[in-house]
């Protein structure tokens, strides 16, 4: 086994923190070495965020002993911090004491109702309990204030999709497009939702959105072009009269052509 270089370990942890990537296995192995073999002194003030990171990874990885060490040290240093309280709540969640965790989060929110991390944890508890209705309520309430949180809009849309609420999910995707108009993935998802929600108006819209995806991200083998050619060939069978018919013909021909060339 290669010797342990604490400097590279620290750097790796830093990068993982920055990118937000969830890789509990790696974090736990590195964290165990750092914490149990006494490298924590080398970290300086960074040590607290490393503890937090390792704690969450340890919960993911079911390494209760490591999680306990991290949490104890953090509690000793920051006895009143809401951030540490949230970690406590996460521990309760990991032990499946969801109601206790919920109580804790509610208590934090009573003092500070704009604590984003707590709001999100609370929603996660609702989801874990299977109370999707309450999760959706909490999400809409949160998004009413923090409308520019793209990840949360995505979360809400996927919850709506679970219940086949396509119109609501489409609304979420529209908000996402407003936030990042050049992101072709949002356009693609929006188009797919419209396409699934079968109604001729939506299909027309979906076609336009698929075109938009192709314009923003010109990969002709993508889902978007597949859908386009499918829909257009369907249309020709139904012989639906439309002012855009000529155009459709051209698009269909073009896509067929490019299909063959691949």
């Amino acid at each position: 086994m290669s010797p342990f270089y604490y400097k590279t370990a620290i750097e790796t942890l830093q990068e993982l923190r920055k990118s937000g990537e969830r890789n509990p296995e790696l974090v736990v192995t590195l964290g165990e070495k750092l914490i149990y073999e006494g490298y924590t002194g080398k970290l300086g003030d960074e040590v607290w965020s490393v503890y937090e990171q390792v704690f969450i990874a340890a919960l993911d990885y079911r390494n209760d002993a490591l999680a306990k060490t991290c949490l104890e040290r953090l509690e000793k240093r920051f006895p009143k911090s809401p951030r540490v309280k949230i970690l406590n709540g996460m521990k309760l969640e990991a032990e499946d004491k969801l109601d206790e965790a919920l109580e804790l989060y509610d208590e934090i929110l009573k003092n500070d109702d704009s604590n984003i991390a707590t709001i999100k944890r609370r929603i996660a508890v609702f989801k874990a309990k299977g109370q999707d209705q309450r999760a959706i309520e909490a999400l809409t309430q949160y998004l009413d204030a923090f409308y520019n949180d793209a990840e949360t809009w995505l979360e809400l849309s996927s919850l709506y999709l679970n219940y086949h609420l396509y119109q609501q999910a489409g609304f979420c995707l529209e908000e996402l497009i407003l936030l990042q108009p050049q992101n072709h993935l949002y356009h693609l998802k929006y188009a797919e939702i419209l396409y699934t929600n079968d109604n001729i108006n939506n299909i027309n819209l979906a076609l336009k959105e698929f075109c938009r995806v192709l314009e923003l991200f010109s990969d002709l083998n993508s889902l978007a072009s597949e859908r386009l050619s499918k829909v257009y060939s369907l249309d020709s069978k139904n012989k639906v009269g439309n002012s855009n018919n000529e155009l459709r013909q051209i698009i269909r021909d073009w896509l067929n052509e490019s299909d063959k060339s691949y």
Partner: protein
């Protein structure tokens, strides 16, 4: 004339400064300035006592303005009907004051004295100002009292006469060379020039530097801070802006654009076939939106009849 200037120059250059001035005035002033800066930084940390977090309602109140602005700038990327829905919803909400922190206070002008939060903000500003002004006046008084009227150093480079008032404050001699710096001016040079040293000592975000406070103060006189903004007025303005925003859908001629891009269509033909689209763009936004939704409906009914 030139002879005279030369002679004064020669005289000033022959000026002899006691080394005790360096040891007991020049360096102590600098050290005191640095120490006071560090002290001031600590005091502001102590006085501010942790950043006060905004409540959810306050965040909501200001974020909704940004939401309106986002809709105005990127609204062209969503379908006309969706844009119209959002526009109606937001303008209504703005007008009714749904997003205000405290909807009851809609029509009253906000008095900072009665609003506890405004009061707190004012106190915060006062505290900061006091932490800045008191040490400065004390040091200036100290320098004026003990060291006024003599020069401390000679700058190693020549300067024009304009700098005389800046560098020789407190020494009223018309003939002395500009490169000599008086004690009071040395204080000012330190006040303005120690910023990088403070960053080195205390890190990026410190309150030791007097200059930043000064600029903050000059801004303060321009617009009275502590005065909370009247969000209802801002909301009304934003609703007006939104109402005036036209909507020209990005995807109106998307098929043509895509085909031109892949060389399946010539530019000229597109202009011909998109004529009606361009025309509708020139019309009022609401008309365009309603027209397109109308045509969609028409298409729908036609399709339905086709199916039957």
């Amino acid at each position: 004339m030139s002879h005279q200037v030369l002679s004064t120059l020669a005289e000033s250059q022959s000026l002899y400064l006691d080394p005790a001035i360096r040891d007991w005035v020049l360096i102590p002033i600098m050290i005191v300035m640095v120490l006071v800066g560090v002290f001031r930084d600590q005091i502001t940390v102590l006085l501010s006592g942790g950043t006060k977090k905004a409540t959810l309602k306050a965040i909501r109140e200001s974020k909704v303005l940004m939401r309106g602005a986002a809709l105005r700038s990127y609204g062209n990327h969503i379908p006309p009907l969706s844009f119209l829905n959002r526009k109606n919803y937001l303008t209504n909400a703005y007008k009714k004051g749904d997003y205000l922190k405290n909807p009851a206070s809609m029509n009253q002008t906000v008095n900072p004295m009665t609003d506890p939060q405004g009061m707190e903000m004012m106190m915060e500003g006062m505290k900061k100002n006091i932490a800045m002004i008191i040490p400065q006046t004390i040091i200036m008084g100290w320098i004026n009292f003990f060291f006024s009227g003599f020069v401390l150093i000679k700058l190693p480079f020549p300067l024009t006469l304009r700098f005389k008032s800046m560098l020789q404050r407190g020494v009223e001699t018309p003939d002395m060379d500009v490169t000599w710096v008086s004690s009071l001016s040395w204080y000012f040079l330190n006040l303005f020039g120690l910023r990088s040293i403070f960053t080195l000592l205390l890190g990026e975000d410190n309150a030791a530097d007097g200059m930043r406070e000064m600029t903050a103060m000059s801004q303060m006189t321009a617009s009275p801070t502590g005065q909370p903004q009247d969000f209802h007025k801002l909301h009304l303005a934003e609703s007006e802006n939104l109402e005036l925003t036209p909507h020209s859908w990005e995807l109106n001629d998307i098929e043509h654009r895509l085909l031109t891009r892949y060389g399946k269509r010539e530019q000229q033909k597109i202009i011909d076939s998109t004529e009606n689209v361009i025309e509708s763009n020139e019309k009022n936004a609401i008309e365009a939106a309603s027209a397109s939704s109308y045509s969609e409906h028409k298409g729908k009914s036609r399709r339905k009849s086709g199916k039957h």
